[in-house]
Each structure stands twice: as C-alpha cells, then as structure tokens.
Amino acid sequence: MNGIAALQPYVIGPLLVWAAVLKLFGRRTRAQAGRTALARLVGAARAVPALRLVGVLELAVAAALLLPPAVPAEGAAAAALSAGFLAYLAYARRAAPMSSCGCLGAHARPVDLRGFARAGLLLAASVAAVWAGPHPVDAPLAALGVAEAAALLALSPELDHAWLMPLRRLLVRLRRPLAVPSPEEVPLEVTLRLLYRSPAYCSASARLSSDVRETWDEDGLRFVVYAARGRAVVFAVPLGGEDPAAVRVALIDEPAVA
C-alpha cells in the first residue's frame, strides 16, 4: 500500500508538467484558448491569463510532488487541483457543451466521459499521494506505474491522433469493413450522374417536369423514366458505361397503364 502511495507523485507529476508546459509555452494552445470552456468561465479576454495561471499552478504542484521531501500537503494540493479540474469539467459540460476543455493542449473535441474518467483517475492518484513516503521500487510497482500512465494517456483525446487513429486505420486496412457487397449492382446515383452529363439529358432537361418516376434494368441497360408535362421521357443508359454520348432518349405520349 505504501508502495502504491509512493508511486503516485511520479505518475501525476510528469502529467502535470506536460499539461503546464503546453499551457505556458504552446502557441496553438494560446491561440485556441478563446474556444475552450475556460473562455466561457472567465471571459474571452481573460482566457489566456487564466490558462497561464492554471499552468503555473500545475507546474508548482508537480515540482512539489517530484522534489523531495514527500509531505502529505503535496498530495492534498494535487487532490485539490484534481477536484478543481473535475468541477471545471462539470461546469464545461453544463455551460459550454460544445467547447473543448483545454486541459492538455488544443483540440476541438468537447468534454466527454473520457475527460471525466481522466480527472477522476487523477483525483484518486492524488488522494493516494497524500500517504506517499520513501519506498524502494520493484518490478510489480513499476508495472503498475506504467499501466496508470498508459490509462491516463489513453483517456486523453488530445493524443488520439498518435495512437487511436493509426490503430483504427490499421484495423480498417485489415478488415475492409466498407468493401463493395456486390460489384455488379450499380447504384442509381452512378447512372444518374452519367445521365446528367449526356447530350440526351441536356436536350430534354428543360422540359422535364418531375424527378425520376421509374427505373428498371434490362439487357445491360438501365431505363430511366421522367414525366414531361403529360408525356414521358425515357432514357436508356448503359449499365457500367462511362460514355455520356451512349445515352439514348425518346419522348413519347404517356402510355396508358396496362
């Protein structure tokens, strides 16, 4: 138990340093400060100073956590900061549901469950850090630390582009979820785009008085029927063809429905 407590400053500390550096020195973060929920909370004009202040607080708490000696007040300060983050997220979710939180640099995603989970994990780790003391590091403890850090990173939407998107791209490449179900089936839209580009359609379009009324496939052709003020215009479009000039057209009196 002591070991777990002793581990927490080394999990929270680097995360806070990273967040602080992004807030204090990240040019993009400052540029997008106006779009975060913080701007809603303190006003757009004060968003950048507020962001800097949070960064300084984070840096101070991180320094206290990482530098010896370990005193309970450091954990308490980190817990207070984490509780503040949670309260801020709850505010952002209510008051500015479309804004991002601005926690770990700039991104456009609004606050979601992952943000709350990350702040909750941070709060739990900070509370545990209150009991931190000197303790030797062994293999299971190191593994736990790595797992905790990985969980915090996985819960950060700011990092999705670094691991989640490539992972999903790889899965899509392997599984091919959007493969064409049956290549011989030609969607109507494909036929219509060819039709719209054809001289046949251009010669008749001014007088068409309806959208597609009827369509059917026969002998490698797709027949498309439009109404034209009491008459019918029928087009024959080659299925799978690419030459608009091959489209044929006829205008006939509307046949009596047989």
Binding site: R168, P187, P199, F235
Partner: protein
C-alpha cells in the same frame, strides 16, 4: 407494367436518339426555359411555396406536417409529385415521424400541392472517427453520427471523379460530407452520397 415498360423500351431503343430534336418538345427558346416568373417573395419573409417539418399523420394523399416553427402544413401529394427517400420512392414510403422538405404550389385553401418532397434528407459534414462493418462513425461538432452503407444505393464521390459504389477508399480521420436519409429519432443516417475531398 411489363407491356408499359416494353413500350417505353421499344420507343427509346427503336426510335430513340442521342439528343431530342428541339421541336419535339415545343419551343426551347430562352423565353420558355426562363419563362417561369421569379418567385415574388419579400426578403426575409417565409416562402409560401415551401414547407418543412415532421409528418404527424398521413391521410389519403395528404401529409399533415408540423413545422419546426410550430406552423402546421397540409401537403398534397399528386401524380406528378417526386418523392425522395434515399432515392426516388413511391408515396407509401412516407411515414409519420419522417422529417420532410416540400416544394410546390400553395393552393387557395392553404394546402401545398407538392412538386417535390424530400423525406428525412440530411447533409452533414464531419470527420470520420472510425469505420466498422458497413458503417462510418462521424464526428459532427463533437456528436457521433453513425452513417450506414446501403448496398446498391450508397455511392462515394472522391474529389471530382464520377460516383462509385466503392466506399473503401475512405480513411479514418479524413473530412467528409454525407448526403443521406436520417433514421427518425436516432443519430443514424443511411448514406446516399458521401463526398470525399480526395
């Protein structure tokens, strides 16, 4: 139906042509093409010949529609009306609950005689968050929208190439625009066309 189709088929294959002669359809002069008077609408005022809303009930050939501004519309669907629901469809596809845009002519009794009715049509821009089996998961301003590939209907337009039934060139992370049919009261959309910038 078969003999009607045979008739239409023999007309286009027998006597059909690459282009229609101008005289076949009467005058094609500019005064005919642009003959329709410009709509007489005061800027800012609602267009009387347009209606939007959701279908409350369907009776005979009339749709009873409640607009998003709580204005009630009666929309008559006639023989010449074109209906769209992921493609041209028949009138029986209009169901209570469907969202709708309709354009037509306002009759003296207040009924809109529809020329065109688009059911559940949506036009969404967003980022592809994930692709799973026959689904695109779209991030649209932070909201997830699931777009379904409909075999035989959905097409993709890559840049300015002709449309293709092959959606497999779409990539996770890219920006797309989806034209499709909303499934009422869900965050799901059936894809008609997905536009990809590359």
């Amino acid at each position: 139906m078969t003999s009607r189709r045979q008739l239409l088929k023999s007309a286009v294959l027998g006597g059909g042509a690459g282009v229609l002669a101008a005289t076949a359809m009467g005058s094609l002069g500019p005064e005919a093409a642009f003959g329709a008077a410009a709509p007489d609408i005061v800027p800012g005022a609602p267009d009387p010949n347009f209606a939007e809303g959701r279908i409350r009930s369907v009776k005979d050939n009339t749709l009873f529609v409640l607009g998003s501004n709580m204005v009630f519309h009666r929309i008559r669907v006639v023989d010449g009306t074109s209906l769209w629901k992921l493609g041209p469809v028949a009138f029986d596809q209009a169901r209570p609950g469907d969202g709708l845009y309709a354009r037509g002519v306002r009759m003296p009794d207040g009924v809109l005689a529809a020329e065109s009715v688009w059911l559940n049509i949506v036009n969404i821009k967003g980022h592809v968050r994930n692709i799973t089996s026959e689904r695109l998961h779209l991030d649209h301003n932070g909201q997830e929208i699931v777009c379904h590939q409909v075999p035989g209907k959905s097409v993709a337009v890559y840049s300015d190439a002709p449309p293709s039934a092959d959606l497999s060139l779409l990539r996770v992370g890219q920006h797309v625009q989806v034209l499709g049919a909303w499934r009422p009261d869900t965050n799901q959309v059936d894809i008609a066309t997905v536009f990809s910038p590359h």
